[in-house]
Amino acid sequence: CVNDLDRLPTYDVTSASVYANAANYKPVLAKLYAGLAVTGQAGPAGRPDISNIDEGLSSYVRQYWMMQELTTDEAVISWNDGTVQDLHNLSWTSGSEYVTAMYNRIYYVVGQTNEFIREATDDRLSSRGFTPEELTNIRAYRAEARFLRAMAYMHALDLYGGNVPFVTETDAPGAFLPTQTNAQALFSYIESELKAIDADLLAPRTNEYGRADKAAAWTLLARLYLNAQVYTGTARNTDAVTYASQVIGANAYTLEPTYSNLFKADNNRSREIILPVAFDGLNTKTYGGTTFLVHGAIGGSMNAANYGVNSGWAGMRTTKALVNQFPDPTGATDRRAIFYSNGQNLEITTILNQFTDGYAVPKFTNITSTGTKGSDPAGDFVDTDFPLLRLADVYLMYAEAVVRGGTGGDLATALTYVNALRQRAYGNTSGNLTTLNLDTILSERARELYWEGYRRTDLIRFGRFTDASYLWPFKGGISAGRGVESYRRIFPIPASDLIANPNLKQSPGY
C-alpha cells in the first residue's frame, strides 16, 4: 500500500512527459506568447498566471500600457482602483500594486521562457529522438522564447532601470535568491541575446502570424540602441540606424494604407505589424489587452455599438497636450487624430469619476476595416490585436537615430520615411515636412504612436518626462502640472520583492 503514496495527476502533465513529445513544444511556445495576452488558463478569468492582483488588471499589455501611457500627457483614467491615480500624479511608491504587477508580469515571462529554453537545449533535444524537421522547428521556438525573454528584460531595463534580479535558463526553479544585475550588464545581455538568436529566427515575414521573426529582433535591437544613452549613458545611434535599416531594407513589412485599420478588429491582416499581441473575442479572452483599451476608452455620449462592443467603461481620456499636437482634433487634416469630443471638455478639471473631462480616444475599436462587429456576439471581448512592434516606429527610429548623429543613414532618407507616415495621415503631400529636428520627431512620434505604449520611454529619451521643461495637465498631481524628482524616470523595485529577496537594493530615490 505504500506505493499508493505515489499519486500522479490525471489531466496535468509533468515536465518530464511534456518535453518527451515533440507535439507539446508548440503549445508551450503558445503559452509564452499568450502570457502577453491572456491573464490565465481559463479566459477571460480563472487560473491566473500571477496572483495578488485582480486578474483582469494583471494583463501584460494592460499593465504595460498603464505604465507607459497613464504616466504621461497621453492619458488619464477616471477610476480610483487602489493607487492607479498615482501613475498620472507621478507619485507611486514601491508598494504600488501596479508597480508590483508589471514587475511580476515581466518575471513571469522570464520564468516561463527560462523553463522552455532549459528543456530545449541541444543536449536535451538530442536525447529525445526527434526528427530533423521537428528539431528545426523546436530550435526556432527556442529562439523565439529567447526573443520574448530579451523583450521582457528590456521592459525591466526601461521601466525599472536595470538594477533588477537576473535569472537565466541555468537557474532551475526553486527557492533561491536571484542576484541583482545592473543596467550595463542587462543591456549587454539583451543585445547579445537578440543577436545570438538571429540564425535560428525565421526570415522577416516568413514566420506564422503572431510569432517573432528576424525583423522583430532587429526592431527591438534598434529600440535598445536608440535608448542606449538613457539606459547606459552611452549613445548607440549608429547601431540603431543599422538595425532599423535592416528591417526596412528587408522590404517584408509595408505600411498599412489606412492608418485607422491598424487598430481595428481585423488588424491581423495588416502587413505593417511586425509583432502583435493577438486577441480574439471567442478564443483569446481577457479583461485586459485590447478589451480594456476599447471598453475603457468609451464613455460619455459615445455609443458603444459604434465601436463593436456592448458597453463603455468610462475610463481613459487624453489631455489637451496630445490633442494640441494635431492641426485640428477632428481628423479632417491629419487622420491620425482619432478623438471623440462631443460632450467632452478639452480641459480637464476632474480626472476621477468623470469621463467628460478630456477628449476620448476611440483609436482601438472592435469594428473591422469593412465595418462589421468583432466575433463575440455579446460584445464583451475584442478581436483587435495590439501592435507591439510595427514598421512606422522603425521609420521614426531611423529618422531619430540619424538626427541624433547616427551614421550609416542620411537625413534625406529619414525625411522620406517620416513623410511616408505623414502622407498616409494627410492623404496627400500637403503635410510633408522639409526639415527634421528632435522636436518634430518627438511630436511626430506622439501623433503616430499615441496610446500604443511608447510615450513614457519617448519623453524620457527626450528629457521631458520628469522635470518642469515640459508640463501637462495634472503632471505631478496639480492641474497646471509640475516637475517631479528625476528618480521617477524609473519605477522602484516592488517592496514585495525587496522582502522576498534580500539580494536586492532599492533604486536611488525610493
Binding site: 534580479p165 458603444a304 458597453s311
Partner: protein
Amino acid sequence: QGITVSGTVRETDGSALPGVTVQIQGTTRGAQTAVDGGYQLTNVPTSATLVFSFIGKTSQSVAVGNRSTVDVTLADDTKSLQEVVVVGYGSQRRQDVTGAIASISSNDFQKGNIVNPEQLLAGKLAGVSITPPSGQPGGGSQIRIRGGSSLNASNDPLYVIDGVPLDNNGVSGAANALSFINPQDIETFTVLKDASAAAIYGARAANGVILITTKKGRQGDQFHLNVNALGSLSVNSKLVPVLSADQFRDLVTNNTTLAATPEQKALLGTANTNWQKEIYRPAVSGQIDMSGTGSFKNVPYRVSLGYLNQNGVLKTSNFDRYSGAIGLSPKFFNNDLSVDINLKGTIIKNRFANQGAIGAAISFDPTQPVYQEGSPYGGFFEWVTRNADGTSVINTQATRNPVGLLMQTNDHNTVRRSFGNAVFNYRLPFLRDLRANLNLGYDLSSTTGQSVVPAAAAASFNQGGSITQYSQTRNNKTLEFYLNYVRDLKKISSRLDVTAGYSYQDFIRDEPSYASLRAEPRPVNGVLTDTVSAAGTPFRTQYTLLAFFGRVNYTFKDRYVLTATVREDATSRFAPNVRWGTFPSLAFAWNIKEESFLKNSKAFTLLKFRAGYGITGQQDLPTGLSDYPYLPRYTLSDLTAQYPLGGSYYRTLRAEGYDANIKWEQTEAINAGLDFGFFDGRLTGSLDLYQKNTSNLLATIPVPAGSNLTNQILTNVGNLTNKGVEFQITGTPYRREGVNLDLGFNITYNQNRITNLSKVPTPNDPGILVGTISGGTGNTVQIQTVGYPTNTFYLLRQVYNAQGQPVEGLYEDRNADGRITIDDRYRSYTANPKVLLGFTTQLTLRKLTASFVLRGNFGNYLYNNARSNNGAYRNFTNALGFLGNGVTNVLTTNFVNNQYFSDYYLENAGFLRLDNLNVAYDFGKIIANRYPLRASLTGQNLFVLTKYTGLDPEIAGGIDNNFYPRPRIVSLGVNLSF
C-alpha cells in the same frame, strides 16, 4: 403469563429522565424511557427484577413483585468511575483521561431550527468557536478550536464520525463536511482540543479533532418510535440604512457637493421603492424526523428518517434535505465479537438565491420601480443606454435590478451522499485482555448543479442568457485496524491500556468540465449557436494517507496517569523524501482527589491536574489547489484562453509554480489543566492553559522574482503562535423536588500572533496583504505581519475635525514624509475575537423546562464594507449613465469619494447574542393515555447587543460585505413517542 409494568424514571431533582434503559434482568427484553421518563413493559413475570441504567447515573435494580407501576429515581453516579469517554481509536475511563477533552451529549444540545450538527454546540464549550452560518439556508458554521493554527491552509478541525475521519475537502455545493448529517442522529460530540488528545490523529489534527458518535439501538430494547416535528418562521431583523426615494431625489436634484449634471438628474424616477424590502420575505421552514430503535432478535438497531425544508429570508433561497440512517449493532460469539454498522444516506436539494441582490438592493436607485411596462428584460426595470437614434441597449455597467437578479436566476443543485462504516471489534477468546478492531468505511457523493439565467435577464442579455453546469463525484475509502490490550496489574496497583494500529485512507475527486451555454442561441460568425465557450479541462485529483499509530495509557494507584502516543503519517501530497512525519505526544494526569489527604473530603468530589505536550500536523492544502504541490506540472488552457499562431488556435501548456520540497505544517502544543468538582458534583469545571506553536506554515507567499514559475507559490514558511486560557464551569445552584436550575458558563481567551513570515530574516517586512474588499479593484484592508495577529487590519488613521466629523482624504501622516499615501497605513485590531464567552442556563419547573444560550465575542473588529463601498457621493452619480443609492452614513461623513482605507470604517464588533431561548412543556401521556407528548417553543437570534453599526457583528473573516443577514427565528416543535 406476566403483568404489564409501567412507570416513570426521574432524576433526583424530579425532572423526567428519557433514554434510560429498563431491562428485565437475565433476559434481552427491555425498553427505553421516553421524553417524559415513562416506560412500559408487557408480559413481565412477577418474579422479575428490572434494571434501570443510564450513563452517568448509578444503576438500580428493582424487584417487580405484584406492582404494575414501578417509579424510580436515579442518582448521579458521583464517582463516575465507570464513565467512559470517547477518544481517538477507542474509549477511556474518564479518570484515565490526560488530555484536554470536552464533550457534550444530546441532552445539552442547542434546540430549535438546527440545520447543521455543529450548531448544536454553539456557545457550549470553551475553546471552541462556532460562527453560525449566515442566513443562507443550509449554510455551515465556521468552527475554530483554540484559534486557527494555519495561515493559508485549512483551519477546520478534523471530523471523525463513528470512527471514520472525514475528508476536509468539502462536497461541492454543500456548506461543510457535516452538513449531510441529520443533527437528530447525533448522540455525542467530543472535542479533542490539545495535542496530547489529538496527536493520535497526527497529520490531520493540528486544528483539533471533533469526534461524533451517532445514536444507536441498545441490546434488549423494545421497539420505540420517536417523532419530532418542528415548524419555524424566520424574519429578517435588520436592513442596511439607505436613502429613501425622497431623500435620494432631493440629493440628486439639490445637493451642491454632488452637483449632478442635467443628464444625471434626468435619470431620476418617480417611484418609491425600498429595494431591501423587495428582496426579503418572512420564510417558513419545517422539519420532521422519525427514529425507531429496538432489538430484532439479538440485533439492536436504530433507523431514522428525516426531512428538512428550509426557506431563506432572501427570496428564492431554499434548502431541502432528506436523510436516512441505519445503525445495527449485533454481537456474536458470546458477545466476543461486536459489530457496529452505520449507514447514512442524504439527498440535498439547494436553490441558491443570487446573493448579488443583497448589494444591489443597497445601491439600486430607489426612485425606480421594480417592474416597468414593456421592459424587454422580463418586465423588470433595468438601466439602459439611450442612443441618439432613440434606440436603447442594456447598460452593462449599471447595477442590475435586485428583484430581477433573484427571479431571473435559477441556481440549483442536488447532492447525494452516502457514507458509512462497519466496525468489527473482537475480543480474543484466548487472550481476553486483547481486542482487535477493524473499521471499514466509505464516503461517496455526487453533486450536479446548474444555474440558468434566461435570455431576457439583463444580467446576460447581450449573451442570450446563460446556462452553466457543474458536477462532482467523490470516492473516499477508509481502512483502519488496531489492537487494544488492557490489563489491570493489581499486584503493582497499575493498569495498562495499549493500542497500536494502522490506517489507510484514499480520496478521489472528479469534476468534469462543462460548456458554458446560452439560454437562447445567438449567431456567431453567422451560425446560430448556444455555446459561449466549450468545456475546459476536467479536474481529477487523488490523495492517499497512510499511518501507523500507537498509544500507551498507564495508570498507577488510580492516581497517576501517563499517556504517550505516536503516529507515523504519510501523505501522497508531498515528495517521497519528506512525506513521512512523526507526531508524538506525552501527557500526565494526577487525580489529586484520590490522594489520602483529599480522599475523604466532602467539599471536593473531583480534583485532577493534567499536563500534556504533543506535535500535530497539517497536510490539507488551501482550497482550489491540486493534490500534487511538489510536482512540476503543466496545465492545459481552456478553449477561451487559446493563443493564435499562424491563424490556428492553440490550447496552451503552462508550467505551474511548485515547491519540490513542500512538507507538513507542524504544530507543537502544550497544555496544562485542572478539573474540579465541589459539593457532591453540583459544581464542576475545568481550567486549561495552552500554547500552540505552528511552524513550517503552509502559506502562499510571494517568491523572489525570477526564482520560480509564478509570483506566488505554496510553500512552508513562517511561524504562528496561539496561546490562551479556557475556563468552564457548570453548576446546579438550586435543586429541589421538581425544581431545578442548571447554569453553565465558559470563557476563552485566545491570543494569536505571527512570529515569522519569510524564509530569510527580514526585519522590515511589511507583510502580506490580505482581505480583499468590495470596491475598486483588488483593494485589501488586512495584512499578515510578524508580531501581529493574523488578519490584522491595515488602514489609514482618519483625522476628524472639531465637530468630530471625518475629514475626507485627511489621514495621519504616519511616516511623516509630508504626504498622505498608502504607506501611511497602520496595523490595528483583528477580526479574531480575543475573548469568547458562553452562558447557558436551564430551569426545570415540574413539567416546564426553560433554557437559553447567551454567546458573546469580544475584542473582534469588523471592516464595514457595506458602508465604505456605498458611503460616498460618487456612489449616487457616475459617468456611466445610471444612478445609484448609498447608505445614509454618507450624510454624516459627506465623503465625495469612497475612502476605502479609512479606519473610520473599522468598528468594534464585540457582541452578546441571545442565541437560543427555549421553553418546553411536557404534556405527559395524552393520546389514549399512552403516548407522551412534549412541545417546545424556541426563539433563535432574538437579540444582539453590539456597538457595531452594520447588519451583524459576527462575520467570519472580518469584512462585512454583501452579508446574507441572519434571521430571527421562532420555532414550534413537538415530540411524540410510541
